[in-house]
Amino acid sequence: MYALKVQNVTKTFGNLRAVDDVSFSIPEGSIFGLIGRNGAGKTTTIRMMMNIYLPDSGEIVLQGSKIGQEFKDMVGYLPEERGLYRKMKVLETLLFFSELKGKKGKGLEKRANELLEKFQLIDRRNSKVEDLSKGNQQKIQFIATILHEPEFIILDEPFSGLDPINTNLLKEIILDLKKQGKVIIFSTHLMDFAEKMCDHIAMIDKGKIIMNGSLPEIKSKYSQRNVSINYSGDISFLKGNPIIEKIADYGNSTGIKVKEPQDVQQLLKILVNNNISISKFNANEITLQEIFIELAGDEIVTNTYSEVKHV
């Protein structure tokens, strides 16, 4: 059962075709990842899903009918660039955003206090937003996203700028929301996170969907004949070997594709015979990162890795 369907959506700005005939479906109760590099069309797609932009053609369908205001009330949206009124007080801010979604009252305030407690911000509830640190402002923004108990939670790059402890806290809460049956939609360029958290993935590049489906399906499709290794030594002798189709260096691991499935054992043998010290050898294993690069080209490699390391 699909909760939300994006059907043949296109959006152009002047001469730029930002989103080009994009379709994907988001299953109920899943964590869905929309991944792609910066400028690929993720935010434009999300804005259309939120009814902020109207698509030039195509439509977004929620349980059989085109989305409108009622969908907005069911969504909690954490945009990539956070936005809060700097002069407003924390609790006031939270209640304001929920009131826009049509939720107010004593119960809401109680829930706001509980969430502030959970994020260790309860003592700051009457502080002005501008007096909070950037990390804390981000936590406030996240609380504002989920306070009105939305059915759909759209998170655009939710972990950027959070320290490891808060990253873990956020992950726990996201998984908790999943358990409650909420649909969580991630947009990120961090493949590592998408791989760890998402059940379903759509990859977008230059405005087009280049791949989509459930994560295990995708992985098994792309992992055949693929070996991921960590080693020390020089493997340049592999180049030109008849069993090797491709070698790709991803920095902290190396992906090797062999020509036939039975060549995997042969590869291990060659490596051992050449005195390569192997610390990891994963047959039929591929990372999301590797799949993305295979599909979209490798200009992203250094960029993405350096960003991954920051998190």
């Binding site: 002047g14 804005r47 939120m50 009814n51 902020i52 932009y53 109207l54 030039d56 205001q69 907005k72 009330d73 969504v75 949206y77 945009p79 660039e81 956070r82 936005g83 809060l84 009124y85 700097r86 002069k87 407003m88 304001f96 955003f97 009131e99 826009l100 979604k101 049509g102 923004q141 504002a144 759209i154």
Partner: protein, 422 residues
């Protein structure tokens, strides 16, 4: 366009704008500014009447000298010792010879000036004035009248005219204004309504300028802080824009009502008594009309200011591109103020019913002349019409502008936005 989401935005705007120190300061400061301006004017006038001068009046005949002496002895600045005048009789020839010896006193300003009254004044009223500052208009304005009276006295001397006739001939012409209205009463007009006309123009101008700039800044800030994207995930841009505009308009209206409150008290109660020549001829209905006309026009203006705010990423760019909008506020202010000279002039009449201008010009004109009811109605209708014409454009540009950032767009690009499907 108006629903619970708009209401939530309005509430937030009001909380942010009305319950602030700057609102209270501004509300109190403007009337103080007016009182201050009045005091400065009074001070300048009294300062001017306290200036001293020392004059020599030299006439060619004895009769002229005596007549001058007689008139100036009743001249208030002389009586109060601010003016010191000495009188001499000598011929033009002697005067020309003596002038060099008086030069020193004139240059050191021991002597303010010398008035030479030639015999020819009996036919041509032209006198000579010698001074370091020969274009002293404020002095001329003061001494003209006694000199004229002295000349008239001499001219009609022995012509069998009674003193009464002579004093009639030497009087200046004065006007007292009566305002003709549809009503039965014909009232004498004081200076109160002229002041009122000015106050209306100026308050409306200030309020438009301030609330416009504030909403423009607030839109830029929401855009810069990226709050707008969070807001648009809950409501659409029309709801957001109308909520912001209504919130700002209510704030400005409340402020205007507070400013006009003393006026309403003056005309509806006897708590504050004005001197008779400052009596105000204005009705409560007219003040409510001013507020209503202002509110409608303000909404249009705020829409345009919000639109400009949405186009730009920073205050500087917006300020440098806002001049067309500023002209729409400044030109009516000038028309409103210059109308004091002739309120029934063509420009004033048309401007009081013209889009944008009517907000300021109609109240200014209404204070000066009796405006027919149909013109009040036309002004309101024109204002409403303008509002409905402006909003589809302003709303569309706002919708597109608030979500874009980066390079400052040209007006051509902005016009292209109107064709976008969003």
């Amino acid at each position: 366009m108006f629903n619970r989401r708009t209401l939530t935005i309005i509430k937030r705007e009001l909380r942010e704008k009305v319950l602030t120190r700057s609102f209270i300061v501004m509300t109190l400061l403007v009337p103080l500014l007016f009182v201050g301006l009045i005091f400065i004017q009074i001070y300048l006038i009294s300062y001017d009447s306290n200036t001293t001068a020392s004059l020599k009046i030299i006439s060619e005949t004895n009769i002229l000298t005596q007549s001058m002496q007689k008139q100036f002895s009743q001249f208030p600045p002389v009586e109060s010792n601010h003016y010191k005048i000495s009188y001499l009789t000598m011929s033009k020839k002697d005067f020309d010879l003596k002038l060099p010896s008086m030069k020193k006193d004139l240059l050191s300003e021991k002597l303010t000036g010398i008035v030479f009254v030639p015999k020819s004044v009996d036919s041509v009223k032209l006198l000579d004035y010698y001074s370091k500052n020969p274009n002293n208009n404020s002095l001329f304005d003061k001494i003209k009248s006694p000199i004229n009276k002295a000349l008239i006295d001499v001219h009609f001397e022995g012509k069998k005219l009674s003193n009464k006739e002579i004093s009639y001939a030497s009087e200046n012409v004065n006007f007292s204004g009566y305002r003709m209205t549809e009503g039965k009463h014909i009232k004498a007009e004081g200076e109160g309504n002229q002041a009122l006309s000015f106050i209306f123009s100026f308050l409306l101008y200030l309020s438009l300028l301030f609330s416009g700039t504030i909403i423009m800044r607030s839109v830029i800030q929401e855009k810069n802080n990226k709050i707008v994207e969070v807001l648009l995930s809950s409501l659409d841009s029309k709801e957001l824009m109308s909520g912001k505009i209504i919130g700002s308009a209510i704030t400005a209206l409340a402020q205007m009502a507070i400013w006009l409150l003393p006026l309403m008290l003056i005309i509806s109660t006897s708590w504050i008594a004005l001197p008779p020549n400052f009596a105000l001829d204005v009705t409560l209905f007219q003040i409510f009309y001013v507020l209503m006309n202002f509110f409608i026009g303000l909404i249009t203006f705020l829409g345009l200011f919000a639109m400009v705010g949405s186009i730009f990423d920073n205050d500087q760019d917006a300020q440098s591109s806002i001049w067309p909008l500023m002209l729409l506020i400044i030109i009516p202010l000038y028309i409103g103020i210059s109308m004091q000279n002739n309120p029934e002039g063509m420009i004033g009449k048309v401007a009081s019913m013209f889009p944008f201008a009517s907000i300021m010009v109609m109240p200014a004109r209404m204070a000066l002349v009796d405006v027919p009811i149909w013109q009040f109605i036309v002004a309101i209708a024109v204002n409403l019409g303008t509002m409905f014409l402006v909003f589809p454009f302003a709303g569309k540009i706002y919708r597109i502008g608030i979500l874009r950032s980066g390079k400052k767009p040209s007006w051509n690009e902005v016009i292209k936005w109107l064709k976008y499907k969003y």
